[in-house]
């Protein structure tokens, strides 16, 4: 026998006890290239087929190859948008995986450890965790002649641990490798079967795994990241131009559109820098295309010049900020919510802008559409603020493509222009929005500039004109205010304690609130979905609570500052801040709120 199961709770007899679970968090970790992501993809298929919701995230070093790589999957009967507090199962391909993830293993967790590269490091795992040692790599090489197959082998063992049948496990492989030829698929199946029978030898059989997962009714669901959903929304709304510069974690958007634009006639470009990226998008938008750019902190900083220009010259543009831990280069692969001030207040001068802030993939998609429409309507920069949501994958009901409506605002066609006595690009109107002719239209010739100008687009410093133009641009935001998403609210309507958060914190708060009910604490929760202009409902919410906790991922309390700046009373607001690059767990948020409540 090549393996042994250890249970440091000496022969407690619990080693083969089956645990029924409706919520399970599994990590697969090793060196980059070990196949951790593939094993998680197999498992995702299996859990999805059982009707469980999924949440997936990965922790990959910022280097090309190798380095510690971990993928984590949560499967749950209820929809969840964050990880469980602890790992129920850890599949560790090396000792570093144990060192890094070991402390996160649940007390009753199961660790499947690949001993091919060395013995299990001691003193890291909880003493009550159950360890199954398997020389994955060695067996894969011995039996199948290739180390590469260890992911299928490992999945075989994992399948048994999770109580999956042979058919279910096989389906996962076949689904994942559906583009492989029979011949290439065969050794993978062989590895899986070896893994399954290896587990059988340990006493885990189809009917007697360590876990028993439910079978739930399946509805039409997809698994998608915030970046993908946002790009999808832009595409669906008629977005056809994208320019960007590679930057973690925003590059996915450029890649996603670059791959799919060709069949829609769209153009995605990689620029020489962010200054170029935003101006390429501005140039395309000025010409009439629906355009977007995306970046993260340092790139968004470079783009401020262009964003100010869009605001002044009245050019539609969607800007996605995939916020990461700053300042400066910060921690590129770690999430944060520290560009709130930059997005709501950045760029020189007074400019009209909107900052949308989704908290789920559905909202990313919806706001991708909305931002594209709003840019056309208000002819100004529209931000979409993302955070860790941009790279985590969530299972959600399939998007409703029937709900998409296109709004091209005040674009003029040739016939409409020819009926006008005069065409003035910056005509002062009641709603602040000027009818728009694009280059190529026969009678629409006009001048576009970021300088202050008169209605014809001719540079002007006349004080009366200047004030009228600033007011006109500001009115545009008033005229779209009614279209801006208000906060998502939930919880105990009778409670006098409120919690405010944005973006990725929302899903953590959903669970934290549920648990706090068990501690006798009722909460009303409020997640703003437009950061600028911040709708009145947030100030009203603060005023209606005795005290409010504002939970955010930055040091300065930027969200709380924003809320105060539009009139919320400061005395009732208390910040809960995290800025170590690691998203808050539900347990941590529960603890933080309990502490604050107890200290009162």
């Amino acid at each position: 026998m090549n393996a042994r199961t250890q249970n440091r709770e000496a022969e407690s007899g619990r080693s083969l006890t089956t645990r029924a679970r409706e919520d399970v968090t599994v990590m697969v970790a090793g060196q980059g290239g070990d196949g951790s992501l593939t094993v998680i993809a197999f498992l995702a298929r299996a859990l999805s087929q059982r009707g469980l919701y999924l949440f997936r995230t990965s922790n990959i070093a910022s280097r090309i190859k190798g380095g510690h790589a971990a993928a984590v999957l949560r499967g749950s009967a209820l929809r969840r948008g964050c990880l469980g507090d602890k790992l129920d199962i850890l599949v560790a391909f090396d000792d570093e995986a144990i060192e890094k993830a070991g402390p996160s293993v649940a007390d009753d967790g199961i660790v499947i450890y690949d001993v091919s590269r060395g013995p299990l490091p001691g003193g890291i795992l909880p003493s009550t965790a159950q360890v199954i040692e398997v020389p994955f790599g060695r067996l894969a090489v011995r039996d199948l002649r290739r180390d590469l197959f260890k992911n299928c082998f490992g999945f075989g063992v994992l399948s048994r641990v999770m109580g999956l049948s042979d058919d279910e496990a096989l389906d996962c492989l076949k689904h994942r490798f559906r583009r492989l030829s029979e011949e290439d698929l065969r050794p993978n199946i062989g590895a899986l079967e070896n893994g399954l029978s290896f587990a059988d030898d340990l006493g885990m059989t189809v009917d007697h795994g360590l876990f028993r997962l439910p079978r739930l009714e399946k509805e039409d669901r997809i698994v998608i990241t915030g970046n993908e959903a946002t790009a999808f929304g832009f595409l669906a709304a008629g977005g056809r131009f994208f320019a960007g510069y590679p930057i973690t974690p925003a590059t996915d958007i450029m890649d996603w559109l670059g791959k799919r634009f060709p069949q829609f006639g769209g153009v995605a470009m990689q620029a020489e820098d962010e200054l170029s990226a935003i101006n390429l998008a501005i140039g395309a938008s000025f010409a009439g295309a629906k355009a977007m750019t995306a970046s993260s902190g340092p790139g968004i900083a470079l783009m401020q010049e262009g964003i100010g220009h869009c605001g002044s010259a009245e050019i539609p543009l969607v800007i996605v900020d995939c916020q990461r831990a700053g300042p400066s280069t910060g921690m590129p692969t770690k999430p944060e919510q520290s560009d709130i001030g930059l997005m709501t207040q950045g760029a020189p001068g007074d400019i009209p802008r909107v900052v949308l802030c989704p908290g789920t993939p559905e909202e990313c998609f919806e706001y991708g559409v909305l931002a594209t429409n709003l840019a056309q309507v208000a002819q100004c920069p529209i931000y979409i603020a993302l955070d860790g949501l941009c790279q985590s994958a969530h299972m959600v009901p399939a998007f409703d493509l029937d709900s998409i409506e296109i709004d091209n605002g005040k674009r003029l066609d040739d016939a409409e222009i020819s009926k006008l006595d005069e065409y003035r690009r910056y005509a002062i109107t009641e709603d602040g929005i000027s009818p728009w002719a694009i280059p190529g239209q026969r009678q629409g010739m006009n001048l576009v500039t970021g300088n202050e100008r008169n209605e014809w687009g001719q540079v002007s410093t006349d004080p009366v004109n200047r004030a009228a133009m600033v007011d006109k641009r500001a009115r545009k935001i008033d005229s779209v205010r009614h279209q801006l998403p208000r906060a998502y609210e939930w919880g105990d309507e009778q409670a006098n304690v409120g919690v405010i958060c944005v973006g990725m914190v929302g899903d953590v708060l959903i669970e934290a609130r549920e648990r706090l009910t068990g501690h006798g604490i009722g909460l009303r929760c409020h997640r703003p979905r437009t950061l600028w202009p911040l709708p009145d409902d947030t100030v009203d919410f603060v005023k209606s609570c005795e005290r409010v906790y504002v939970v955010e991922y930055n040091k300065g309390g930027q969200l709380a500052d924003l809320i105060r700046s539009v009139g919320a009373p400061a005395e009732g607001m208390h910040s809960i801040l995290k800025y170590d690059g690691v998203p808050m767990s539900v347990a941590q948020l529960v603890e933080a709120i309990l502490e604050k409540e107890k200290a009162r």
């Binding site: 995702a44 298929r45 999805s48 999924l54 669901r221 997809i222 999808f232 595409l235 669906a236 008629g238 056809r240 131009f241 320019a243 799919r260 829609f264 006639g265 769209g266 153009v267 470009m269 020489e272 200054l275 170029s276 101006n279 390429l280 998008a281 140039g283 395309a284 938008s285 000025f286 010409a287 009439g288 295309a289 629906k290 262009g306 220009h309 010259a313 299972m395 399939a398 998007f399 493509l401 674009r411 020819s418 065409y423 003035r424 694009i438 280059p439 190529g440 239209q441 009678q443 629409g444 010739m445 006009n446 001048l447 576009v448 500039t449 970021g450 014809w456 687009g457 001719q458 540079v459």
Partner: protein, 287 residues
């Protein structure tokens, strides 16, 4: 008829070289019968950055140094347009030089006219990158944009004119527009355009210019010859003018756009035709 903006009177000092550039551009657009509504003139920041206001076409005033990416975005969004980017030497060779290099590299079919006067006129006479031995760094060499262009293998049109040589400038401007209109790529035309107020180089440049097109054995299709000729003239304290290099290289729009496709600038109000493709994308996310 719809009335459009009334073109501005130039803001330049009497004697400014930019008058010559505007005259040549106006002449070339008319000679080639390019309708004003199909022409977009984009300009940068500086004295030269007002030329777009004066010609009754579509005009765009970019941020300092950013005229080229903007012009490329415009050209890709609507390849039917004649796109002319313009600006000064500070705009193009200092703050915007990164974009200039990458435009030469990408070879989009548009015209770029740089009015080179060796100074920042609008901010009252600071030295620019083309000023030889600037006051603050007398050891620095002036930047030669034509030689920079020659060093980039995908450049396809490099010319230099002189505001005081209107015939040559008319000819070069027409050739530049023709190059872009024929879809051959990035037509770069630098014009020696003296600033009479802060850097009056008329007499100096008149003595220095040398029209390579008049040399019987010069071949503008020969990149190596162009380079050695420019180098030799520079060492002789001369400035080469004329069509210095013209060649062929695949263009940016060839790489990115489908030929004959509807320009993305013309947005569609009915996008239901794309629905099956959107459905297919959605389906790819079912696990």
């Amino acid at each position: 008829m719809t009335t459009n903006y009334k073109p501005n009177q130039p803001i330049w000092c009497a004697g400014c070289g930019h008058f010559g550039v505007q005259g040549a551009l106006n002449h070339a657009l008319k000679a080639l019968e390019i309708p004003p509504h199909e022409t977009v003139i984009l300009a940068g920041i500086g004295c030269s950055g007002s030329i777009q206001n004066n010609l009754s076409t579509y005009g765009y005033h970019a941020m300092h140094g950013r005229v080229l990416p903007t012009a490329i975005g415009t050209a890709l969004a609507n390849p039917a347009l004649t796109v002319v980017a313009s600006g000064g030497d500070g705009d193009g060779y200092a703050i915007g030089v990164g974009h200039f290099v990458h435009s030469l590299k990408r070879n989009p079919s548009l015209v770029y006219i740089v009015m080179n006067n060796g100074t920042y006129g609008l901010t009252k006479g600071q030295d620019s990158p083309t000023k030889d031995a600037p006051d603050w760094a007398p050891e620095e060499d002036a930047l030669d944009a034509i030689m920079l262009g020659l060093s980039i293998g995908s450049s396809t049109f490099l010319a230099r004119g002189f505001a005081s040589a209107p015939e040559q400038l008319n000819d070069l401007t027409i050739k530049a527009l023709e190059h872009a209109q024929a879809g051959r790529g990035f037509a770069f035309l630098e014009v020696l355009s003296p600033c009479v107020t802060y850097n009056d180089t008329y007499p100096l440049w008149e003595a220095m210019v040398h029209d390579v097109d008049k040399d019987a054995d010069y071949d503008s299709g020969d990149r190596s010859l162009a380079f050695t000729t420019c180098m030799r003239l520079k060492n002789d304290h001369r400035i080469p003018t004329g069509l210095i290099y013209q060649g062929d290289h695949p263009t940016l729009e060839k790489a990115l756009l489908e030929e004959g496709a509807r320009p993305i600038a013309q947005i569609e109000s009915d996008i239901s035709g794309y629905r099956p493709k959107l459905d297919a994308i959605l389906a790819s996310y079912r696990v």
